[in-house]
């Protein structure tokens, strides 16, 4: 092929992406900003085969219709090489068909829906990144099955693919165990609070509470349970992984005891983890933040997420070779292994091969204790289905 | 008698249309002055100019001081204007209208004054809580007058107070105004189409024609004036 690949020049690669810079989901803009910062860092260290990565992200306000037009703009007008790491499930679903139709890579979708890996055959230009919500739910299930035999579980979940996938995973993890999900209550993103759901869950007589909710609602759930004097034995949440500040908020400076002992998973480095202060990887992260995202709140793990994805993208571009084409990138991702990502937990490998197209499938469990997360146990790996 | 209100070469316009082309008139303290004229002559606009409801040029002096600002300033200076149409606060109750009439005054004796209004207009007490906007046309007209009197003004400006009122009430209203004028020295500037009754109560009168003063004089003079008789009194 001649060197006329869109977005690729002798000295540059243009990546594009959408992100909610405005509206209710605007916290996730941090993902794009983190990635941008890492690309700057990588560029200053020579880029990829001498090509600097220009990462251009545009606002979609988490509205899929805008994602479509914004993505078209990136491809048709800005001639980007690939779409990279746009957050959101519906938003990415909206453009997946079109991207694959146009053979444009939809690289490392920032969403844990199962469809990215599962439907790889149909949409080979699309790849996921993080552990799927199913995988995460499954880990919680396995953990409860092992350590809390006989307990009765109540689940609060968001009424969309995100919550439902987590719930599905949890149930799979609990299969053939003596732990039962005895109640599950959904909430809508348009709700103002979840007190009603928590009251219902409590009335079910459950002794374990699982929160598959976004940070605000998870925090509210702690508070609501506390207010009606419900003290379930175990609390599990995924939301904490998204922001540790939210756990601080939930615990109200330690006054809400329910928060202590909460279980969550983790696959990213936690920038606030005390033990990693001296860790070189964390040092690198903080340096990059300071230099390329000054003023941003470096404690927000969403920046880590963006950097982890960007780091992986650089590896993938390297593997795609000097004669970079969209096809060569997709081929490179078909069988792909990247170890030593400084923004993922040590030991976690980004890996795809054969039918398995979920890049990250390993994670650690951690527990909230006395104001911070403590990881425990070894890496869990979701068995490829 | 000194002039309480003086207009000197006052002009006003609505967009491109010049409604007042230099009005000069004088309202002596303690007198009743009538403004007459055909429809569209600028009578209403003259009153609006005084109370600042329209942009105006020229000099307006009230109690020796130049009058500036909008209607609220005029009200605060002691001018009560009962505008053309009704001028009640339609969404408020009758009593609330009266209370607001006394808005610029210090608290005292508001209740006593409300009672006085009830004497003038006996229907007021039983309708105290009725929303002003649902009163009949004439009732609203009376309420507007009562509201204006509540402020105990130095100058009362009435724009066609007789419109929509029953003949009996018209006479009653003018007798109230005369009485207040005689007993309390209330100064009144009244625009009226019923020239007969206007000239009965007013000491002096001005006749406007397309935005200027065409004629002025004492009521007696005007009553005797052939032209006035023919065009305004019809005999």
């Amino acid at each position: 092929r001649s060197g006329t690949e869109p977005g690729v020049a002798v000295d540059s690669i243009v990546l594009g992406g959408t992100a909610p810079l405005t509206g209710a989901a605007s916290r996730y803009a941090a993902v794009a900003r983190g990635a941008w910062a890492y690309f700057q860092y990588a560029n200053n260290r020579g880029g990829v085969y001498g090509r600097k990565i220009h990462y251009r992200y545009v606002d979609d306000g988490d509205n899929p219709a805008i994602t479509v037009t914004a993505t078209r703009q990136l491809i048709q007008q800005d001639k980007v090489f690939a779409i990279f790491n746009s957050p959101g499930t519906a938003t990415n679903l909206a453009v997946r068909g079109e991207l694959n139709g146009g053979k444009v890579p939809q690289l490392f979708v920032a969403s844990g829906a199962t469809t990215w890996g599962r439907d790889y055959g149909q949409y080979p230009y699309t790849s996921g990144f993080q552990p799927t919500y199913q995988a995460e739910g499954w880990v919680y299930g396995k953990y409860l099955a092992r350590t809390a035999s006989g307990s009765r579980v109540a689940v609060l979940f968001e009424n969309d693919d995100y919550g439902k996938d987590l719930l599905g995973g949890l149930k799979r993890g609990l299969e053939r165990s003596r732990v039962k999900v005895i109640a599950a209550e959904a909430y809508e993103v348009t709700s103002t609070d979840v007190a009603s759901q928590i009251a219902k869950l409590r009335a079910s007589g459950a002794d374990t509470l699982v929160l598959f909710a976004t940070p605000t609602f998870a925090i509210q759930a702690y508070q609501a349970a506390n207010r009606i004097g419900w003290k379930p034995k175990h609390v599990v949440t995924n939301a904490a992984a998204a922001a540790s500040a939210s756990m601080q908020a939930a615990s109200f400076g330690g006054r809400n005891r329910l928060v202590n002992g909460t279980i969550s998973i983790q696959f990213l480095r936690d920038p606030t983890d005390l033990r990693s202060r001296k860790d070189p990887a964390t040092g690198l992260y903080r340096r990059i933040m300071k230099q390329y995202a000054p003023g941003a709140n470096a404690d927000d793990p969403l920046y880590v997420y963006g950097m982890a994805a960007a780091w992986t993208a650089v590896e993938a571009l390297k593997k795609a070779g000097k004669d970079l084409t969209r096809a060569s990138l997709v081929a490179a991702l078909d069988t792909f292994t990247a170890m030593g990502n400084p923004f993922l937990l040590p030991g976690i490998v980004v890996k795809t091969a054969g039918k398995d197209h979920d890049p990250i499938e390993q994670m650690l469990l951690r527990r909230w204790q006395n104001g911070s997360w403590k990881a425990f146990g070894g890496l869990w790996a979701y068995p490829a289905s | 008698m000194t002039a309480l209100l003086e207009l000197h070469a006052v002009e006003a316009r609505y967009g491109p249309l010049q409604a007042l082309r230099g009005i000069t008139l004088e309202v002596p303290e303690g007198s009743i002055v009538a403004v007459l004229g055909a429809n569209g002559a600028g009578k209403t606009t003259t009153l609006r100019a005084v109370s600042g409801m329209v942009k105006r040029d020229g000099e307006i002096t009230f109690a020796g001081k130049p009058l500036r600002g909008g209607p609220e300033a005029a009200a605060r200076a002691g001018i009560a204007h009962v505008p053309e149409g009704r001028g009640t606060l339609t969404e408020l109750s009758v009593i609330e209208n009266l209370r607001l009439g006394a808005y610029t005054r210090r608290g005292r004796s508001v209740r006593a004054d409300i009672e006085r209004m009830a004497d003038y207009f006996p229907w007021i007490p039983e309708r105290g809580d009725q929303t002003a906007g649902t009163l009949s046309g004439g009732e609203q007209q009376m309420l507007a007058l009562a509201r204006a009197l509540m402020s105990r003004p130095r100058l009362l400006m009435l724009d066609e107070p007789s419109v929509g009122l029953a003949p009996l009430i018209v006479r009653e209203i003018f007798s109230i105004i005369s009485t207040l004028n005689e007993q309390e020295g209330l100064t009144v500037l009244v625009v009226e189409q019923d020239v007969r009754i206007a000239l009965e109560v007013a000491a002096t009168a001005y006749v406007l024609e397309v935005g200027t003063v065409a004629l002025s004089g004492t009521s007696a003079e005007l009553r005797g004036d052939e032209a006035v008789r023919r065009s305004y009194l019809g005999y």
Binding site: - | Y14, N39, E139, G164, L165, A166, P167, I169, V170
Partner: protein
């Protein structure tokens, strides 16, 4: 001559206020009928009942032998009744001409600009056709309302204080105009007015309301001489 409009025993209350209390009167075809009474007597309310803006609590209402009580307000025009309002009620963002065109709404697509313009000429507003209705002086706005009402080609025209705010000359003209109107358009007119000179001069018949009740009815001369009317409304020194 048979009655064109008959109002029978109409009662209407607003909460505790009895605005109309068993009021009955008739208007004969071709007449100019005056409806007078003190402020708050219920005259405008009677208009509102006749035009179905208000539903009476009791009573019957017949126009040309048919009951109107089942007719919704917007069909009243179709029956041939049009009105003006005591406080001018124009379509303020429209031109004078458009106001009149809306008046002809019930006649369907047929009524064109030509007739509306003719109507404006008739009321002496031909040159103001293009002006914004709200920019006219009060007196002229009242005339626009009359033109708008006439555009519906009514058989019965209800006028609520048309002389309000007119000067002496204007009132005289208005009287002549109403008389001419009746003859030119074969109209019946029900006239609410406080200007006694006008009412007495042009009415064929006058009804008097007081506090929601009918207190008198008859020829202008009868009514003027009626002591109840003098007491409640005219006062002892009734005008000419």
């Amino acid at each position: 001559m048979a009655a064109l409009l008959s109002v029978e025993e109409i009662t209407l209350r607003f909460g505790g206020i009895v605005a109309l209390d068993g009021v009955s009167f008739e208007v004969e075809a071709g007449h100019i009928a005056g409806l007078i009474g003190p402020n708050g007597a219920g005259k405008t309310t009677a208009f509102n009942v006749i035009t179905r803006l208000y539903a009476p609590d009791q009573g019957r209402l017949e126009f040309d032998g048919r009951s109107l009580l089942e007719t919704p307000a917007h069909r009243i025009a179709e029956h041939g009744i049009a009105r003006t309002f005591q406080n001018v009620n124009l379509f303020t963002s429209m031109s004078v001409l458009e106001n009149v065109l809306v008046g002809g709404h019930r006649l369907g697509r047929g009524t064109g600009e030509k007739e509306a313009r003719a109507m404006l000429e008739y009321v002496g507003l031909g040159v103001r056709a293009g002006d914004l209705a709200a920019s006219l002086p009060y007196g002229l706005q009242k005339r626009v309302e009359i033109a708008r009402a006439l555009a519906a080609k009514p058989r019965l025209l209800l006028l609520d204080e048309p002389a309000g705010g007119l000067n002496h000359e204007g009132v005289e003209e208005l009287g002549d105009f109403i008389l001419r109107l009746r003859d030119d358009h074969e109209l019946t007119v029900l006239l609410v007015e406080h200007h006694m000179g006008l009412v007495m001069r042009i009415s064929d018949h006058v009804n008097v309301l007081g506090s929601g009740r009918k207190i008198a009815g008859g020829t202008p001369a009868d009514v003027r001489a009626n002591p109840d009317v003098i007491e409640a409304y005219l006062g002892s020194e009734a005008g000419p």
